[in-house]
Symmetry: C2
Subunit: 230 residues, 2 copies
DNA sequence: TCTCCTTTTTTGAGTTATCAAAATAATTGG
DNA sequence: CCAATTATTTTGATAACTCAAAAAAGGAGA
């Protein structure tokens, strides 16, 4: 039986890996995201390597094996389906479901998960726009760019929010910037570190660079299938 | 933070206590139901006593304190609401939800639990007929008797099944003996160790004493409010 | 009352996951 | 190229939970 601690390590390593797929994940980074001291990460990584879940290059870094990645994706699938279920079926606020799913992802059985998946109609994205790993098959590749990379005068669609902080997500919701929203980038001034957008309801809003960087968009009016927050 | 191990001990102790409320729960019994060696139970009981969750009489037995009982009831409430939610909202079979709830009861937050409770319309009984401890206030007292205690010729209503084994529960369902069912006790022969019942659909069935003992009933046609398996 | 048997407690040890702090390796600027 | 800094690993401890097996306490029957 695989412990929830191990599940968390695998999930985190996978997510770190995605930020730079060719590089090894450094131990310091892993320790930081797992909120443990470096020595703890080293110890855990050794046991994970012994279990064949990752490759460990001492003083170099780590990389998940195919087996490790499969387990990580399974955890991620649980996490994201649970998030969506909590929003769509239990009426929780999307800003709080991340924290709930952190715990539930280790407790929900495959059977219960597949029921949720069916009830949700096999969704492709979670409430924050993150793709839900399919039960079998490869992870879909996403082509997102951060909002500040969109040239002024372009249309785009909000795809994903890469910060799960409830306060940030509530801000996003208050300003109708949830995934799926079509926006128009009115201006981007690198000097002022400011992006101004028009949103469908007619209003416009100006964001600083730090906030804009957390908003991932798809250029043009690509249609995105899958359930998401209205 | 209270560990799920501790939650399980408290829950089990509470349930054992109920079988004979005036007596202390013996250590051997606790070890048996927790499936640990006696020494483990002793060690855990000492820490629980130090935390003020139970009273421990060495070589005598244990009894939950008010605080311990409150925590136990909280766990039991989670367990039973989750069971009902899994049956009514996720369509799981009632014979399998006990096992699922054993894990989920330690992972579901109060917020999620109260959403389930609301969605279920504040049910009073779980799928097996066990009363759901209220969020606040005392546990309702049930007046059940085992099926063999019903005199022949009497009507009764099935109240609860005191065995969570999926095979037994599937048998119960196949024979339409789920909680809420009105039955008529046609005969009871202690010598033959057999009870024969008539069920609403017109058929009748004969049970051995061991199976009949696991079926708790309410005499007469008392109406039981609360959601249950159809 | 005095063994024998059962129950319970104690003792010693193992596992998993963690931290603190010392030791070591790698990198980087002068 | 070397010293200083930074990253990583090692070492020694701890907490929670567990088991195995020895020791102790309580009966119950002769």
């Amino acid at each position: 039986m695989i412990s929830s601690t191990v599940e968390n390590y695998l999930k985190r390593i996978y997510l770190e890996q995605q930020t730079d797929p060719k590089a090894l994940v450094p131990m310091g980074k892993l320790a930081a995201v797992m909120q443990v001291v470096p020595g703890t990460a080293t110890a855990m990584v050794k046991t994970l390597a012994d279990s064949g879940l990752l490759e460990y290059e001492p003083r170099g870094g780590i990389r998940l094996t195919a087996g490790g990645e499969q387990l990580a994706l399974h955890v991620l699938r649980r996490h994201r389906i649970i998030e969506l279920f909590l929003v769509n079926h239990l009426g929780l606020d999307w800003s709080e479901v991340h924290a709930e799913a952190e715990t539930l992802e280790h407790a929900v059985s495959d059977k219960v998960l597949e029921r949720m998946d069916t009830l949700l109609n096999h969704p492709r994205f979670d409430p924050h726009g993150d793709p839900i790993p399919p039960a079998k098959g490869r992870m879909p590749t996403e082509s997102w760019i951060p909002l500040p990379a969109v040239p002024a005068g372009q249309r785009a669609q909000i795809a994903q929010l890469s910060d799960q902080d409830p306060a940030f997500l509530q801000f996003i919701e208050r300003n109708a910037l949830t995934p799926g929203t079509e926006i128009y980038v009115a201006s981007y001034d690198p000097q002022a570190d400011a992006v101004t957008l028009n949103v469908p309801d007619g209003s416009h809003i100006t964001l600083g660079g730090a906030a804009a960087e957390k908003i991932m968009v798809r250029l043009g009016r690509v249609s995105q299938c899958g359930t998401r927050v209205p």
